[in-house]
Symmetry: C2
Subunit: 262 residues, 2 copies
């Protein structure tokens, strides 16, 4: 099977011009098929303030009400997505900006109202991925660039970018040997949270269980690792957790971040 | 050759909820390959006012300065485009929202600074259309939905939606028997501007020249007709100028608007 890289970037890359420039150059230089998934960074907050759209919080959770949905559709799906696409085009990378609504690439279910009504939030599943169209787009040497938006029943929905990257990775692992890469603010998963150089280079399911038993992992990394091992259990070959500045190494043989494998 | 409809809608459809709902249902029901091209309507002006972005006019011409470019990228490329796509998806039409930057579908040249600096405006030519990818997308039964934006040298550019529709029609006339449809506020080109029922049903080049000599055409329609005949001269089979509410007839044999042919 051919290799496919699915790479998720967050605000720490999008909000820093120098980091973003380096990241885009490194991303464009990847020779294998690739997909980029992004959120919106601080631009959404800033634009929301200008538009008088206040963050709507319930029990400490952010709610996607109708004005917030319009805001993220504009900023993530419009401004950020198209700026990334235009810059990648200049770098010779045939980027194609999409949301889950486009080509029905990622159909969601609006989150049911429970104790909290999260509003216009989409829950997704690998069965909702239009992998036929994605596969064809990749074969045409286009590079899908996903804004973290999905759709259901005629409306756009807000969906977590990490989750979109995972679900795409699982769905496409039938066609490709997928390495899913989560870029975050550290070099990788640390054995000692006070030592930036204590990166765990290879994390197997067995080692993960051992470290969990020892209580050796920082709380902050646990959801990311649960996510990563869920992908591995569902057919994704490798998940790499690392720093965006190490993308070139992390898409090669000699990875610098944490490579999560079965 | 297969038929292809390229349909351009403007503010008069986008800004009226009932017209838009009818239009989208009629558009989704077209069985042949099709492409939609749209601008932004009043939403851009309204959002711009909220964001404190003032229309920048020089000698009565609107200038696309940097804040205006961000505004149209957000509103046309994000909000309007994705709302149209989500609604078409619900109607069973596999819409794929794009700008000219996406998949390098429409590469422009930034308008050179002459007497006026129009700012971030893209001039386009049929040679800048990635017809290979467009052809492939149409073969996959996806329906490209173009926001009126293009790109060059790493930045997005603002481009007139009528011009985008024409240029796409010309480029795709090598692969398809294209009918380019401009939806506007009248039933068609009128022989008598005071009589809404004086629509010229078929307008050939010969009749056009005759009417021009007679001074029988309203000034407002002349740029549209120049545009239409330019497309016809460049290989587009038919241009239909009509009202969005007559889309079903105007995509069939018994057209209600003005059918422009060689």
């Amino acid at each position: 099977m051919n290799k496919l890289f699915i790479i998720k970037i967050g605000g720490n890359v999008l909000d820093d011009p120098a980091s973003l420039t380096k990241f885009l150059a490194d991303f464009a230089a990847i020779k294998e098929p690739k997909i980029l998934v992004h959120g919106g960074g601080k631009l959404a907050t800033k634009t929301g303030e200008l538009l008088g759209i206040k963050a709507n919080m319930v029990n400490g959770r952010r709610i996607t009400d109708a004005p917030t949905l319009n805001l993220v559709t504009m900023v993530y799906g419009g401004l950020v997505n198209k700026q990334l696409v235009a810059r990648l085009q200049q770098l010779g990378c045939n980027a194609l900006g999409v949301t889950g609504a486009d080509g029905n690439l990622l159909k969601a279910t609006k989150r049911p109202v429970g104790e909290i009504d999260y509003g216009f939030v989409g829950d997704i599943h690998p069965a909702g991925v239009n992998s036929t169209l994605l596969y064809f787009l990749l074969q045409q040497n286009t590079v899908p660039v996903f804004a973290s938006l999905t759709h259901a029943d005629g409306v756009m929905l807000n969906t977590n970018a990490d989750t979109i990257a995972s679900v795409l990775a699982i769905a496409l692992s039938k066609h490709f040997d997928v390495r899913l890469i989560f870029c975050f603010e550290k070099k990788g998963v640390l054995r000692n949270i006070h030592d930036e150089n204590s990166v765990i280079r290879t994390l197997t399911t067995n080692l993960y269980h051992e470290l969990l038993m020892q209580g050796a992992l920082a709380d902050g990394i646990l959801p990311k690792l649960e996510n990563a091992f869920a992908a591995i259990r569902s057919g994704v070959r490798e998940v790499l957790i690392g720093d965006a500045t190490h993308l070139t190494s992390n898409t090669g043989q000699e990875t610098i971040g944490t490579l999560v494998i079965k």
